[in-house]
Symmetry: D2
Subunit: 475 residues, 4 copies
C-alpha cells in the first residue's frame, strides 16, 4: 500500500492534500492518506463527465472492450497488491480478499465480453393495416453521465459492478467510493488512467457522505446507482429526474429441509461460511437459519461447535477467518442488538462478546421476530437458528420480512424447489446452497426494502442505456 | 352515452353518488354524471388490489389471455358507443375517435398475444471455476399492485396501454383516469367486470387530482405509471419505494429536408395531420417544423393554405377536423403563449384567434426560441415554421429542447437517416413521416423532461414484472 | 362427413374424380371418397406455389394473422364435424378426437399470435477497427415454396404444425397428407380456401406414397418437412438442395423412480394413457416402462389390472378407450413382433391377441432388449415393463436405443431431475409425467434416428425462413 | 515455415510419413512436407472424436473459454509465422495474409466471448387449460462429433470459423483442411495440442479429396460443415443422417447507383479491392459490377486505369497486390472462360493473359449473361462491367443468377436501400460497400446454390448444438 493516494478528476490523479486518513481496520492505525476532493472538484468532475458524454457515445464498442481488457490485464498483474490493500483497508481476511480480487477480474472480463454485443431489434410494425409500410429498429444508447456510490464491504467488486458496465455501455461516470475504504477504487482509477478513455470519462472522488449531495441531486447526471443501506430510499426521493438503482441488502434467510441428514456437514460448512465470512458484512450474508425440527438439534450442535473453532484475529494472517468489523461503532451497534435480543428471551449459543471492532461469531436461538437482530439487517457476524415443522411455513417465515434479496434452500425435493422459486419473495433463490452465492454474470438485486433494479453486467448495462427507436416509412 | 356511470371498486360497479359532472367539451353542457369515489373508496381499492396480488400471480397466462380476448371482443362490439363517448367527453372529432377505438382494440389484442409468452432464461453460471456446478434460471414475476394515472387526451388507448399490460403481467391495479374524461375508462371497467379476473384485481376511480395522493404515495403500491404533464416529476419525488414510469410529452419537431420537393403535398398533408389532429392535444403532435431553406417558402404557402381550409366545429359532425380544446382554460393558456410570441416578434401566418375552448389552427413563424410556444409543450393546435440551411444544424435545433419524445425527419438520404438516428436525442426518430406516428407494439417513451421508461405492451409488461432468479447447485 | 371431398390445387377445390376411397377404420367400410390428384396436378401445384412466393412474401404479417385467425374461428365452429371425421377416418376414439381438435385450434392460434412478431436483430459490427463505421441488421425472409408430408395418426394437428407456421412465415406450400386419412387436411384446405391467401399459396394433394417423388425431389421446393417413419432418412438423401426437417418417432421410455409410492395410482393412470391412447399410435406413446425394483411388483399389478379394464371397440362410442389400429397390416405387423418377443422369452402379462385391426392393449415383461418390440418403434398398443435397481442405469437403459424423441421420468428428486436433463439423449425430458406430453408451443423433435429439427410454431417458423443480413457502411 | 509438419490425431502430432508435398504457390517449388493420414488414421480419429463426446459435453464453458483464449494468445504471438506460411502455401500477398491472421484472432476471440453465454429459455407452457401446471426449460446440448472440411483460399480463418465454434459449443471434431494449403490448419492443431482439451477432441487430417468419404458418410459424425465448391451438394446427398452446413460461394455482384458521382474514386478503390484481392479467390469477391449508365463510362475509365497499375508478382514482396492463383489448372480454367466470353462478344478492357498460375487482373464488358465467366463462380481475378438504366432492373439482374451469397450496393438513397434489402435474393446485402465485406461475428452464408445455413460464431454454435427441452409437471 502506498503512503498516499490521489483522487481522480476527469481521468487525472490529483493530490491537492492528503486529508482523508484510511485506517488499518484491525490495528486501528492510519494505513495510508488519501486526497480529499472539495466541492469544486465534485463540480468539475460532473461538468467533465457531461462534456464526455458525446465522446463516450462515439467511443466504439471495440475501444470500450480494449479499455476493459486492459483492466483485466493490469488487475491480474496487481492482484497481490490489491488483495493486501483490501485486507488492510477493509479488515478483510486475506483469503477472502484474494477471492474478491478474482471476482473483480471476472467482472471486468464479463463486461469486456459484452461490450461488443450491444445491439438492438428489428421490429415488425405491420401489425395492422394502418401501419403498413412502416419498419421499426431499436438500438441502445448510453444514458449519459452517471453517478455511482459504493459501500465499504466489497471495495473492489462492488465498484467493478458499476464501473465496468458504465464503460461497456458508454457512460462517463463520477464515482464516490466509501470514504472508509477508498483505496480499492483509487487503484481502479489508476488503471483506468492508463487507458485512452475520452477525457472526463471518469472521476473517483472519495468524499464523505455529508458532501455527497451533488452525486444524488445534480440534474445533469442521468442515473444514480447506489449500493449501501436503507438511506438509499431517501436518496431516491432526492434524485430528481434520474433513474435510480438501489442495492440495499437484507436479512437473508436459509432454509434447511428435512432431507439433508446425509449431507449435514456440508450444509453446516456452507452456513458457517455464509454467516461469518468477512464478519458477516455482506448483503447476502446468512442471518436467519430455519431448520426442519427433525434435524434442528443435530445441526445446531454441529453449527455451534464449528463456529466456536473459527479463528478470529488479524486478517493479514493466512489462517484468520474472522476479522474486525468495519468500525467500532458498527460492532457496538450490533452488539447492542444482540443484547436487546437477549433481554427479550434470545439464547446465546456461542459468542456474543465484543472487543473494540472485533465481535464474536455469535449464534442465537429463540430470538423474537421483532428483535432488531432478526428483522433488520445485522451486517455482522451473527446467525439466528430457528426450527420449523412445515416447509410452507418456513417459506412464510422467510417472507415475513421487509427485505427480499436472496434466500437459500437446502432441499433435494423437486416440488419444494419449484414452490420455493414460486413463493419466496426474493430477487434470487438459491437451491442447495446458502443465499450468499453470487457469480458476477447473474442478475442480482432485491425487492421490497432490499432495493430496486438488478446488477450483473448485462442488467446494469441495460439500466445505463436506453432504447432509441427508428421508424422508417417506405416511400 | 348513459346518464350515469358507476366507478369500479374491486371489480364491482359502485354508484354512491353522481357528483362528477362530465361535460360535452364542444357544447359545454353536462353530458353525463359519474360516481365520485371518496378517500375511503381509494383506501379500499388499494387494500383490495394488495389482497389480489396472490390470486393474480396464480391466475395463469391462458386465463389472463382469455380476459384480454374478452376485452377485444366486447370493445369490437361496442366500438360505436365507445367512439361516441370519446367524441363527447373529449371533444375529439368522430373520425379520430373511431381511430382511437381501433387502436384500443389493437392494444388489447397485442397484450392478449403476449400474455402467454412470459418466460425467462436459462443462464450458464459456469463462467469460472468457483461457479462450477451452479445453474441459473430466471422468470418474470408480477410486481404486485400497481397505480395507473392517465390523461384526458386519449381516454381509451392511453388507459389501455397501462391496463392491458398490467393484466398480461399479472398485476392488480388501481386506475385514476382523468376526471375530465372518465367515461372511456369506466366502460373498460364495465367490460373487465364481465370477466373472471380475481376479486380486487382492478378498480377504476375517477377522482380529482387533489385527492390522488394515495395513488402516488401509498407504499403498498409497487409501481406508479403516469401519463400526463411535467407534474409527473413531482410525483416521482413523492413515490417512495415505487418504480416510476413517466410519459410526459414534449414539443415535437419535424425536419423536412431539401430532397422532398417531389412529394411536398404528401409532406404537407402529414404535417397538417400531425399538428392539428385532435386539436394538437397529443404528446407527439407536431409543434416545431424545420424546413430546408430551399423549399421553405413553397412548403409554407401550401401548409398555410391547407391549414386555413381545415373545418373546425362540432366534433360530432363527420367532416369536422378541428374540435375544441379540452377546456376553455387550456385554450386560454395557449392563446396567451401565442400572443406572447407575437409580442416578441413572431408572425402569425394563419389562425391565432380563440372562441371559448375553440382555438384556431395557428401557424407561426419567426418565433423566438425561448418563447413558451416554442420551448414548452404547446399541447394545442399550433405549429411553428422555421427554415434551416444545414441538416446537422437542424438536428442541433431539434436537440435544443428540454424534451425528447419523438422527432420526424422527411428525408430520403441514407447517411442523414443514420445520422438522425445517432444524433437526435429522442425516444424515437421517425424517418419519412411525422413524429406523431405510433403503432401500439413499438417502444414508446421519452428522454430528458419527456419522461422515464417505455410503453408498448412488451415494454410495459417488463416494467410491471421483475426478474426472479433461481440458482440450483448440483449436489 | 361428406360423401365426396375435392383436393385443393392452388387454393381451389378440384373434383376430377373420386378415386381415393377412405375407409372407416373400425368397420372397414368405405366412409367417403376423395379426388385423387395425378402427376399433372402435382406439377401445377408446385408451379403455382413457386409463383406465389413473391405475393406471399409481400403478404403482410397482419394479413397472415387474419388468415390464421379465420382458421381458428372456423375450426372452432366446425369442431364437432372435425372430431367426427377424425373418429371415422383414423379410428380415433371420439374423446381423443375432440382433444385433437382442441389442439388443432391451439396450434393455429399460436401461429396467429406469432405471425406479427417476425423480426430481426440490429447487430453491432464494430468489433474491431477494420469494421468501424459498419452497422448490421437482420430480418427473416420466407424460405419460399415448401413441401409438407404428414402421417395418419394426427390427421389434423400434425398438419397444423406444418401449415400454420408456413402461413405465419410467409411460405406457399404443397401438402401431401396421408392417403389413409386425408379428410382432416382437406377440411383445413376448405377453410383456407375461404381466405384471401394469395393465389397458389396452398395445395392439399392426397396422393399415394408412390406418386410423392416430386414432393421430395423437385428442386423448386426449398424445404421438405416430413413427419412419419424411418423412410424419412431416405427422403433426406433424395431431397437435393432442400432443407429437411424430419419428425420420425421412437420407442419412448418412461422411468418410474422409487419415491413414487404415494402417487402410484396417478402414475399408473398416466402410463396407461401414454401407452394406449389412440391405440399407441403416437410418436411419443409410452413403449418402455422402467420401474424401480422396490415398487415394480406393485406397479405391475395395478398397471395390468387397469389395462385389462380398458374398453375396446367402436371409436364412435363415448366410452371406448381403445379403437382399431390404422390397418389390419399394421396390427398384424405388431402382433408378429409380440409373438417374436414371446418366442424369445417375453411374458405376456395381459392382452396379446388380435382381431382384424383390433389389437389388445398388451403388456409384456422380460422382453429381450434386441426384440423388435423393444428396440424398434412399436406404434401400437403395447407396453413393456422392466425393473431397474439404480437410477443411472435406468438412464443408460433409456439411452440404449437408436431413438431419442422424448422420455418421461417420474421422480421428485431434484438431483435426479437435473441428471435426467443432462444425460437422457432425447429431444425432450418430461419430469413427473409420461413422455407423451406435448403442448403446441414447445420445441418438439428428436435426435438420433428420431429425426432432425424441431417443430412447435416458433421453431418451425425459423426453419421456414432464413436470415437476410443488411450491412450499412457509414459514408 | 518448418520443413515437416505432422498431422494431428486425437490431439497428438503424428509424423508417420511426409508424403504430402506443399508447394510455394508462386515459385512452384516444394515448400514443406506434411504427414499424410491413411484410412486407418481417419477411422481412429472418428472413433476418438465419438469417444470424446461425453468429456467434451462435460468440459465446462469456462474451460472451453480458456482453450479459446489460449489460441488467441498463441496466435497473436505467432502471427508473423502464420502470415508467412499463408503467403507461401496459398500464394496470398503478405499484406492480405497479415489481414487474415488478424481475423483469425478475432474469430477465436469472439468464440471465447460467446462460450460462457450458452444458455436456454424458460418457456411458459400454460397456454391452455390442459397444460396447467407444466413448466418448460431448454438448454443447448453439443451435437456430438462433427466433421469439418475447409478450402484453400482462407487456410486460417475459414478453419477458425468451424473449429472455434465447435470448441465453444462443446463438439469434438475431425477437420480435413485443403490438401493444397494444410499448414495453417496444422499450426492451429499445434496450438490446440497445447491445451487441456479432452483426449480425442480434435484431429486435423490433411487427406486428399478422394480419401475423404468418411468425413461425409460416417454415421457417427453428427454434422458436416463444408466450405468449398458446388460439390458440396453431392456431399449433402451422401451425408446420411447428418445435419449439413454448406458455404459454397457465388458470382457476387455490386450495383453502383447514379448518386455516387462525388465519391467515385472511393467506389473504384473498393471495387478493385473486392475484385482482385487474393487474386479474386474469395466466395464474395466482386465478379459482376452493374453501373448506372450515367456514370458508367467515367467509372470504367477509372477502374481500368487503376486495375492496370496493380502490382502483380511474388506475394512475399510487400508491394505485391496480385499473386498467383492456387494452381496452374485453376488459372487455365478461368483463362478458358475468359476466352469463351471473348468468342461470344465480350470485350477485354484490360488483362486477359496468363503465365502459369499468374492470371492478369482482367476486366471485361459486354459479356453474354450465359457465359461461364458471368453465370458461374469465377473465383479468380476477373471483373465484368455492365451498365444499367433502372435501379429495379439492376436488382433483377443481380437476382438473375443461380447464386445468392452477398451483394453490394453503392447508393445513398434510403428507399433504394430498403428495396435492395427486401428484394435482393442474397444471404447478405452490403450498402455503401462491396459484397466482399465480412466481419467475423456477422451471420454469413448464402441461399440458392450458394449454400445452406449461416456461419459467424453464434450461428455456427447454434448449428453445432441442439435444443434439449425439460418439462416439469408440478405435483
Amino acid at each position: 500500500m502506498q503512503k498516499r493516494y490521489p483522487y481522480y478528476l476527469a481521468n487525472k490523479p490529483m493530490q491537492p492534500n492528503a486529508d482523508l486518513e484510511v485506517r488499518d481496520k484491525f490495528s486501528g492505525r492510519i494505513a495510508t492518506r488519501v486526497a480529499l476532493p472539495d466541492d469544486k472538484a465534485i463540480e468539475k468532475a460532473i461538468a467533465a463527465a457531461v462534456k464526455a458524454e458525446k465522446p463516450m457515445r462515439e467511443f466504439k464498442p471495440y475501444q470500450r472492450q480494449a479499455v476493459l481488457n486492459h483492466c483485466v490485464k493490469r488487475m491480474t498483474e496487481r492482484s497481490d497488491e490489491l488483495a493486501k490493500a483490501l485486507c488492510v483497508e477493509a479488515g478483510k481476511p486475506i483469503h477472502d480478499a484474494k477471492g474478491e480480487v478474482t471476482r473483480l477480474i471476472d467482472t471486468f472480463r464479463i463486461a469486456a465480453e459484452l461490450a461488443p454485443q450491444i445491439g438492438g431489434e428489428v421490429i415488425n410494425l405491420e401489425i395492422s393495416e394502418r401501419a403498413k409500410g412502416y419498419r421499426g429498429f431499436t438500438k441502445r444508447m448510453p444514458l449519459g453521465a452517471v453517478s455511482l456510490i459504493t459501500p465499504f464491504n466489497f471495495p473492489l467488486n462492488l465498484v467493478a459492478h458499476k464501473v465496468a458496465p458504465a464503460i461497456a455501455a458508454g457512460c462517463p461516470f463520477v464515482l464516490k467510493p466509501s470514504e472508509k475504504t477508498p483505496v480499492g477504487a483509487l487503484i481502479i482509477g489508476e488503471v483506468l488512467a492508463e487507458t485512452d478513455l475520452p477525457k472526463g470519462a471518469f472521476s473517483v472522488l472519495p468524499v464523505t457522505g455529508d458532501k455527497a449531495a451533488p452525486f444524488v441531486e445534480d440534474e445533469r447526471l442521468k442515473l444514480l446507482s447506489f449500493t449501501g443501506g436503507q438511506i438509499g430510499w431517501d436518496l431516491k426521493a432526492k434524485a430528481g429526474r434520474k433513474k435510480v438503482v438501489l442495492e440495499l441488502g437484507g436479512n437473508a434467510a436459509c432454509i434447511v429441509d428435512e432431507d439433508q441428514t446425509d449431507r449435514l456437514d456440508f450444509v453446516v460448512d456452507r452456513l458457517i461460511f455464509g454467516a461469518f465470512y468477512q464478519s458477516g458484512q455482506s448483503c447476502i450474508g446468512v442471518q436467519r437459519i430455519l431448520v426442519h425440527e427433525s434435524i434442528y438439534d443435530q445441526l445446531k450442535r454441529k453449527f455451534v461447535a464449528k463456529t466456536r473453532k473459527l479463528k478470529a484475529g488479524d486478517p493479514k494472517k493466512k489462517d484468520t477467518f474472522l476479522g474486525p468489523m468495519i468500525t467500532e461503532d458498527a460492532a457496538e451497534r450490533l452488539h447492542g442488538w444482540i443484547n436487546e435480543a437477549k433481554e427479550h428471551g434470545a439464547k446465546v449459543l456461542c459468542g456474543g462478546k465484543r472487543d473494540g471492532s472485533m465481535l464474536d461469531a455469535t449464534v442465537l436461538e429463540n430470538v423474537p421476530h421483532d428483535a432488531k437482530v432478526s428483522c433488520e439487517e445485522a451486517f455482522g457476524p451473527v446467525a439466528l437458528l430457528e426450527p420449523f415443522s412445515d416447509f410452507d411455513k418456513a417459506i412464510d417465515r422467510v417472507n415475513d420480512s421487509d427485505y427480499g434479496l436472496q434466500a437459500g434452500v437446502f432441499t433435494n425435493d423437486l416440488t419444494r424447489t419449484m414452490r420455493a422459486w414460486d413463493r419466496l419473495e426474493q430477487g434470487g433463490v438459491v437451491i442447495g446452497d446458502i443465499p450468499s452465492f453470487r457469480v458476477d454474470n447473474m442478475p442480482y438485486g432485491g425487492i421490497k426494502r432490499s432495493g430496486l433494479g438488478r446488477e450483473g453486467i448485462k442488467y446494469a448495462m441495460e439500466d445505463m442505456s436506453e432504447l432509441r427507436l427508428m421508424v422508417i416509412r417506405d416511400a
